[in-house]
Subunit: 268 residues, 4 copies
């Protein structure tokens, strides 16, 4: 009797996901301008197991990763997911990449480093029928710079904050184009911390979030998105976020997570 | 015409959440043994705004936090959430605390530090009708220590991994009791990396996840939970996770997040 | 012959330091106002071994730490160092504490959280004859806030940067007093990113570093110090540093380290 | 009178270093096998100013960095330092690079990822007469794996620890060769947590530190080095370190720093 009960419980208490994570790996990302960009990613690979599944061979994740060696990137998401799903007899396969993405800065600011860094995360999944690709990009926000020193010594007003955009495509969008879209909204209006002229908008997490929301919602290739704008204050941050399409439901589970800023995956 | 369209869009592209985050704050946590434990938390406070809401007063979060000064803790979750909801005219209020929790180690191991650290996260929310409290605890896993040096020089076999338990209560459970439950499962069986006697079980992310799942599912005060067990390998980790009750649906959104190890909330 | 050579090498290739590190531990720090402040420290304890020493008992560090349990703090530095030196038969003993220190904010800014966090590090050492105590404090720097919104909605101009002061005493100085000294210099002058009136000074890493250097050098209780001021720019930082007394020698070893930003690992 | 005093103080309280730091930048490193390896570095560039120097042009660091764009690496250390020294009229110039370095794993372990990551730091400096290059590498240490599961499911015994080697050359040594030297020492002896056969050595921070010290001291191209070996225990680490040539002097300033684990900030 007891064994049957135990079996019943067993059927309901099943491992749902297994995989490997926190693999630091050099990858190449397809880049609109240069074709190939070399960067270093933190890679997670995992599968969703069918109900009642017995176990899996962890070593297969590593074998698959090694087979795609040096060619992990957007182009290889689909075949990578397919191979994971097949080799691991899984219901769904997932790959997550987190990496810094670099763009040449064309804006002629004297103090701008030649390469701007944007933190990105991609999450590709392949379920029974459907492939999903979620792209997340962090774009730094800098307010209007006060007039520069006459001797050409640029001074930084500090870091105002960051916009975090997470979206799903209808059709593929280049990371560059997404970043440009966000930067246009940020620079289009003359945002100022304390507007003094009628042309200037008040720079606040709410106003920037709304402006980004309107811009992204009007893009035909974007199916869903979440925008979070964060303003670094003294000792804390303020933030606002919106999602589109608006979801009335509120999952109490939802945590303020987004892309971890410099999260350190390891031992310290 | 265009304006009407634009207004329609506006109604749908609304700020959903606003708040403050990454506030480092000394808190007191009620502790089964000592009544009060002092620790330092990373605090997030935010509200879900009703549809069509105009804006909010960020300074009110800080005012509320200051009013509860020194008394942020489990006991004050409910009044804190209520005040946030009322003062900010919000539909739902959320407070997240992330903090290290310390327990005296009774196990007489020569090399055990007197205070064991467990990273915890609490997320309390108050929606129109309902209060929810999610508790998350990280418990380190150490395999059977090989026989010690005779001169009493304990050697560490290294760090095997960590169990992460996230749950919702039916009735309140002390953090201590949850940690003890997890540690009992981990130490109950004689886990070994390579079992040599019949009494020993093979230490794997799957086997520990399943054992923890069975134990937690049988606890009357636990309503829902997720368990993730991680094994640190050379240069990466393997992991397994389960959730209970088992949810057939697979949200492609779900990311391998759990409690960030040493997540750095700031700019670096 | 070869063995003698090998022994000779052995005598020169000796372990110099052994110890324990990265222990997250709740501590109490003596606080000018409240007498006792509870916080969480990252603790390192290590000893310098005399030339030719054979080995040491790592477990003794833990035994000593456990004996001082709950009372690790400034007051106990000397007895802790003495016990380490004696029990481990060491030539010198070292204790490092890294912790967030909280001060009540009296400045009536609407958006100031009630508790300001300052990251501190203390390094105490006891050599044959001499005790040394090095104190390091990080003080955030915020430029002049533009005039606030009339509705009392404070907006953050972002994070300008941070001043890092590391010093050795002639006579004990309270952490509060050191912080106050630094904040006075920062707020005394009307620093502005782009000065428009003659009363305002240009806020730059060089100007703030110099102003802090002059203030600290004139304090009778400070024997040596290093000041580093950092300005967060878009994607990088600029910094300036000075040390006093000025040291002409340049050790190529010296790295830009200072207190790591957000490495207060106890918090996560 | 007071002014003269003040001027005297001024002469002694001079800015000593200025520069830029925490720049995330894609770099290429010369690689023994593949000639060029792409990775992402955290870059610091700074100069030591001559006594009494007035100020510097921060923008020049960025201009110089941009000029070397895409070609920051070992080969360009010397010209980079020379240009910094000249353009900034400095007494000494410093460049620090911190980056993950990847090597193909030839060891046929089933669970080994194809690319092993080693964290490296290089610090080049050019003083009036002399160039100095310091190289630092972190090599993970894994104890003898217990016999593997018969089904080929490799199990990780966890992470034992890490060896950190910092050295100055007499003649250039490839990073690969340094890593290989360290890995040979670690794997040459049959280290075991609890040795059971006479061939096995006891794996302890002291024994591994000594073995590495002897190996490195016998290398003709190494002029100076420091070795630190760290063993991850439950909730803390133990460590031992030695430096060669042995330095009797003990600077109380020396902190347990070494390469921060997972601070390769470009990755997150």
């Amino acid at each position: 009797m007891k064994d049957i009960q135990s079996q019943a419980d067993h059927r309901r208490i099943n491992i749902k996901k297994v995989g490997v994570k926190d693999i630091s790996y050099p990858i190449t990302v397809l880049d609109k301008a240069k074709l190939v960009q070399h960067t270093v990613a933190m890679v997670n690979m995992y599968v969703s197991l069918p109900h009642r599944f017995k176990g899996t061979h962890m070593s297969r994740f590593i074998e698959i990763l090694n087979r795609f060696h040096g060619k992990i990137g957007l182009k290889s998401f689909r075949p990578l997911l397919e191979e994971m799903k097949r080799k691991l007899e899984a219901q769904a396969a997932h790959v997550e990449l987190q990496f810094p993405y670099f763009l040449k800065k064309a804006r002629g600011r004297a103090n701008a480093i030649g390469m701007a860094e944007y933190r990105c995360r991609m999450h590709g999944s392949l379920d029974d029928e459907e492939e999903e690709l979620t792209l997340e990009v962090q774009v730094p926000i800098t307010p209007l710079l006060p007039a520069q020193d006459t001797e050409g010594l640029p001074r930084s007003p500090g870091r105002w904050g960051v916009a975090n955009v997470q979206l799903r495509f209808r059709h593929f969008i280049w990371i560059e184009d997404l970043i440009q879209m966000v930067e246009e909204v940020i620079s289009h209006k003359r945002w100022a911390i304390s507007p003094v002229t009628p042309e200037e908008s008040s720079l606040s997490v709410e106003s920037v979030t709304s402006a980004l929301g309107e811009r992204l919602a009007s893009h035909p290739d974007i199916r869903r998105f979440t925008v979070t704008v964060e303003n670094l204050a003294e000792g804390y941050s303020t933030f606002a976020s919106l999602e589109w399409p608006y979801n009335e439901d509120e999952s109490a589970d939802e945590l303020v997570s987004a892309l971890p800023c410099r999260s350190t995956a390891g031992l310290n």
